[in-house]
Point group: C2
């Protein structure tokens, strides 16, 4: 029936006999390293495969399905209605805290960046002004480039040497986390610290980056930390929120954190909620959504409040968000029906340019994976980019002769006069000699005529390539603002040209409107979000009038862009061979059934199992399973056995650690009664099997799994079609799905990789290879 040859391409899966489950020796090894000593980060980049047709086995899954074993049910049943109320209240408290801390971090980043960038621009400006008069501007150039490189070097060093996972915007990683993939170290305190310091360095260092993307990652880390009521890095356990120490609850809080991050970055609480939902959640739960909303709200609020104090206007909460695009006065800038085709055309341009951006960045990333994987090389590349950015900017400013009169309502903070007449400033410098946020704002709101078309064209061109080169460097940085800036530049250019070729003019003559549309188109073309992005842009501009055109533009950009290549985040996820589950199974996958996609045979355990067998199973580095069906043998020993539960590696580890053994001979229990607390204390970093010593005598003991296994795992019959399996798996956030026959005997196990392996290629359904990388 199936039109795909199965498993022809299993290149490097070590041992198929008895092989089932997920996880690899590599990962286990690195777990060990993590516990034993400082991370060996030098080796990491080598692990990244450079073939996007692979699916890495090194990624574990998160378990978003509650393990409803006897211990859990007993606890739940002991809890009164009031306890559930308290739990609900503490969820709200945690969300409030997440929002508050995320807002504080955003505020910190904003103030530090503003101060440092202010100092830098002031120094360079004075230097340039000095040398404009006396000649020898090349010294200014050197100063500028050296300053930028030095600052960026700092940021790159902490990222490349201390926490490589903090590189980039972190959005792909958070997407993966919310999708259910465990990305090591992604929500740790150290990552947060490196991320925050890194992003400050990148922005102050004048790279073509924004400080907004990393906020999303920061929010997620804050959420993961606060909700657990302890910090492993700081070795503090506050003994609170212990109920939340499992993947299901933690994921919910991380969604809230990501939303709070978006909310703080763009002043877009609703956009934040939608971002979390669009990128992550599969099961829409009303209460959860409200909590996420609450966290977003508090986050914007906190940021606002502290920024209002900083700006000496305490209590004014009307200007939310790290970035503020400024308000459009709608009455003067309405749009008309005949502009809609123009907007759609701009969307298409955005889609094309976005696809070009993504393809270039894809090639660059492959190049980087192959040749620039040593930390010192990465730092040098970052410094090079910083120097080149400064040089290009300087050259552009130097050769530009676009002088504009300096009027009091200009928003430029550092107008450069250069070779312009007195009372005028260099317009090219407004675009380059500024933080990108301010440049975007100038492009949106400066009076018609503030820029000439050549300036804008050149700026678009150079900034496009600079931003493309910058994304993927070993620095913490976001791609939102550069995208907006590129788009705003060509959008404004579009508006100016439009005004030039038409004579009727009045409505066409508002280039700021086209800058906004262009910005949306470019950003949409690169990241390919629609609903959440619409809301984010609408909230960031504080204006819903342009909601409709922005939607149209984002949709067009997505359709056009998707024709060529995926979105930037998806490209990077794919390049890391993450087993990412999309929303639905590929359309033409009804051919496949659970029997064909499942892994089999399965390593099963008996309900009462010998300790030695368990230790051997867990120690088997060639398989390294994480979930084991628990069975009852009804017929012969080689026959398939009846399913009666499912137990995880992590649970077995805890059981072994606490020596929960039954000595058959004397039939007595040698252990105290294990409680859920013991499992929660070990969460999420369970020790590796190698660290647990089991004596030869103990190996002969038995272990009763009844109390600890999940007695009601979800199952599917073997004839179930792939889309149906996929739907169940995705909707409930499963990690293991047992495939049974008519008599409820275990015949296979479906895990994330078995489903993520199938995807829609250019020539129909394709199967990715599984690799140990």
């Amino acid at each position: 029936m199936a039109n795909i040859t199965k498993k022809v391409s299993w290149s490097s899966r070590p041992d198929e006999s008895g092989a089932i489950g997920e996880g690899t020796p590599l990962l286990n090894g690195s777990e060990q390293q993590r516990h034993g000593r400082q991370d060996s980060v030098r080796g990491r980049p080598k692990e990244i495969p450079h073939n996007e047709k692979l699916l890495s086995l090194k990624f574990e899954s998160l378990d978003y399905d509650n393990i409803e074993n006897q211990l859990f049910l007993e606890e739940e049943r002991r809890m009164s209605h009031m306890s559930f109320r308290c739990l609900e209240i503490s969820r709200w408290v945690v969300c409030g805290l997440i929002g508050f801390l995320t807002g504080l971090i955003a505020c910190f980043i904003d103030i530090v960046v503003e101060q440092l960038a202010g100092i830098k621009y002031q120094v360079v400006k004075e230097n340039i002004e000095k040398f404009t008069e006396v000649g020898g501007l090349s010294i200014s150039l050197l100063l500028w480039a050296a300053l930028n490189s030095a600052i960026v070097m700092l940021g790159a060093i902490i990222v490349a040497f201390f926490e490589p996972i903090a590189a980039g915007s972190g959005i792909p990683q958070i997407k993966c986390y919310l999708n259910g993939v465990k990305i090591p170290r992604v929500v740790r305190l150290k990552t947060l610290v490196v991320k925050v310091c890194g992003v400050i360095c990148s922005v102050v260092g004048g790279l073509a980056v924004g400080k907004e993307g990393p906020m999303i990652h920061s929010g997620a880390v804050v959420a993961a930390g606060v909700s657990q009521g302890r910090s492993t890095s700081l070795k503090r356990d506050f003994k609170i929120f212990e109920y939340f120490r499992r993947d299901t609850e933690k994921r919910d809080f991380v969604s809230a954190g990501a939303a709070a991050g978006v909310s703080a970055a763009f002043g877009a609480p609703v956009g934040g909620v939608l971002f979390s939902l669009e990128e992550g959640a599969s099961f829409w739960n009303q209460m959860l959504t409200w909590r996420i909303f609450f966290a977003s709200m508090i986050s914007t609020f906190t940021l606002n409040f502290f920024l209002s104090i900083y700006h000496n206007n305490p209590g004014d909460l009307s200007n939310p968000g790290l970035i503020n695009f400024g308000r459009f006065q709608t009455d003067s800038e309405a749009y008309y029906l005949y502009e809609i085709p123009l907007f759609i055309a701009m969307g298409a341009i955005g889609g094309l340019l976005g696809a070009l951006f993504n393809i270039l960045n894809y090639w660059l990333t492959i190049f980087r994976i192959r040749y620039v994987h040593r930390p010192c090389l990465q730092v040098m590349e970052a410094m090079l980019v910083a120097a080149v950015t400064a040089t290009v900017s300087f050259t552009m400013i130097y050769f530009s002769n676009d002088c504009q009169p300096l009027s009091p309502d200009n928003t430029e903070e550092y107008p450069l006069q250069l070779f312009c007449a007195d009372g005028e400033y260099n317009a090219m410098a407004t675009a380059f000699f500024n933080t990108p946020e301010r440049s975007v704002r100038s492009l949106f709101h400066n009076q018609p005529g503030s820029y000439n078309p050549l300036t804008l064209g050149l700026f678009t061109l150079t900034y496009f390539f600079l931003a493309c080169w910058t994304y993927g460097l070993a620095v913490s940085a976001g791609v939102f603002i550069p995208s907006l800036l590129i788009g705003a530049a060509w959008g404004r250019l579009f508006g100016i040209l439009l005004a030039a070729i038409t004579t009727t003019g009045s409505i066409w003559a508002v280039p700021g409107k086209y800058a906004l549309i262009g910005a949306a188109a470019q950003l949409g073309g690169i990241v390919r979000m629609t609903l959440s992005l619409t809301v984010i842009v609408v909230e960031a501009t504080g204006n819903v009038t342009y909601g409709l055109p922005i939607m149209l533009v984002l949709m067009t950009a997505k359709i056009v862009g998707d024709y060529f290549v995926e979105g930037l985040y998806d490209i990077h996820i794919k390049l890391q061979s993450v087993p990412f589950l999309h929303w639905e199974a590929p359309a033409t996958s009804h051919w496949l059934t659970a029997r064909e996609v499942m892994s089999s045979p399965v390593t099963c355990l008996n309900r009462i199992e010998k300790v030695g067998t368990i230790v051997d199973t867990l120690s088997n580095t060639s398989t390294n399973h994480n979930g084991f069906p628990v069975v009852v043998q009804v017929s012969g020993i080689d026959e398939p056995a009846r399913l009666c539960g499912l137990i995880l590696r992590s649970q077995l580890i805890v059981l072994l650690k606490h020596k929960v053994f039954v000595e058959l001979a004397r039939s007595r229990l040698t252990h105290r009664k294990l409680q859920l607390k013991d499992f929660r204390d070990a969460y999420p970093r369970f020790p590796p099997i190698q660290s647990i010593h089991v004596s030869q005598d103990e190996r002969e003991c038995m272990m009763d799994l009844t109390e600890f296994m999940n007695p009601t795992p979800y199952t599917v019959p073997q004839e179930t079609s792939l889309p149906r399996v996929f739907k169940l798996f995705r909707a409930l956030g499963l990690r293991h799905l047992v495939v049974v026959d008519d008599e409820n005997n275990v015949i296979g196990l479906v895990t994330r990789k078995d489903l993520a392996r199938y995807h829609m290629g250019k020539h129909g359904l394709e199967e990715l290879q599984l690799a140990q990388t």
Copy 2:
């Protein structure tokens, strides 16, 4: 283990032996009536039980899980990649059409209401002006009351006599539909026609209602109609979109329709999407969300475009939505931190007033169910309310001495001078003598000082009771606008009082801001939506500055209101005893397992079953099941049998109709090969079993169900806890969930009613009674 005595309260379930599944004879009977002749609507209201501790058995479920039988899989496997693309494109086309038609309907309603209301107000105004001079204003009152009553009578007659389901806003019905409950006749063309005419009559008739709520229902009907490519009412089948003729696809389109309705009503495309998601969807699917968004977008766009032509300003698309709250100029109307506690206090007031509204309406509804269930009584009540509304308004205007100067920037279209001096108008009349939409707008935007506190207080009081009395009448009408109006009135009053008691003043002196907050608080207190409502209000005001306070207010209103009573829609859903599934199982329900909640024993069918048995099973009016597990007997005849599939009543009916029999003696097939098309043609109104004639010979034939049954129904083991069963059921939108034992033998079936029965009462977990009503 379980702390609830099970099934002690099954008052009226007819026959437990062999009883399982859902549906009742009553429903089947009414199905029959529907096909045979004009609906007998007179009997309907009697069916509504007046005890909210009941759960009605008359409601069927929708089947949001695809029936993946062999026919379906064969079709899917035949389809190429390209066919799936085409299907996807047609989904977008359908969504576009839904948006377009919904927008057109909104436009139609708006223009007709505006024209008719204009004529009415003009006539009454002239009359009042005439009689103000000559005396005898009681004649004006009579004219006004008579006009209103006549118009409302018309609206009430078509609703009460022709389509009672078109009464009210339709939002509770759409909520139920999206939740998975089949509400008869809710998405039919006739309902739409009655709804549209009804809402025009109610609004023009001067009732305290809005035309926005019904738009949501209208959009849903349009969606259900368009997506099926045929109309049963018009007896036309366009032979298109046949793939969409099943519950899963139809539900998705109905979500889009509801969103398009919200979008048209409030000019809030994002709010519409969120409404659909918050009220309906459980599984968040990105592609679906985008389509919903697209429909919303097109809907606003269409409405805008046609209204711009109507208003002689073609092409200006900047003023979306049926209702336009007018734009707030943010710069002048910022808010400060110290206002936040005030906003929260207003939220609490809104919650309290909302709870009061809901409780009063609850009592009223119970009264109506008991005593006002005959259509002619309903029409008379509606007329009475119309007359009283006119009288009260008139009295209020008459005794008011709040005269305001007539300035050119007033938005009043029908200023009444009455006993005011020349150049002045009666301020009370601006609130009453206007469509509610305009009144809201005046309250938001009129200059400080346009209303005096007494006017506002009296207006709030009277309008509160009028609106409360009006909701639930047999007329099509929404509760959004009246709620906003009440809230805006007391909000503005709050603002005025605040300005009066404080001396510093400048920021406090903007009563429009408080009117907005009050409106949000009141609406939130009544309907208890948060996320979607925030976005709707933000989009309707065209201003995101107040986003944060509006959120806070809505959340406060919800928390305070929920302390007393549920939201208005939920109350009405409960009063109709609908088996509505909430987001999660009650928190303390871990005590219960599938074994305890399931219905058993189950009527099962064999894979190859005698036709006579099937006919008898289907004809058994005492059980009237809709889903039957298909089993293979492995041991004795009375032993539980092994599950091998699930088949629905509707499928069996089609099989019987097409005589898909196997004559065992001659072992040949007497029928042509049945195709999916045959099932789709019969969808959604399958004939009752009584209409199918099966001869005595045919009764002896066998029927092979293998090809038609769903071979992989979802199952749970009997020990599964209720929350786990609930999660599976809710997340996948199931209708039947088979409970099996360790050996995959059928031991029970869980349906919607088995899960909806448990709810959190004041004293912990409560179990609702099942009733035939």
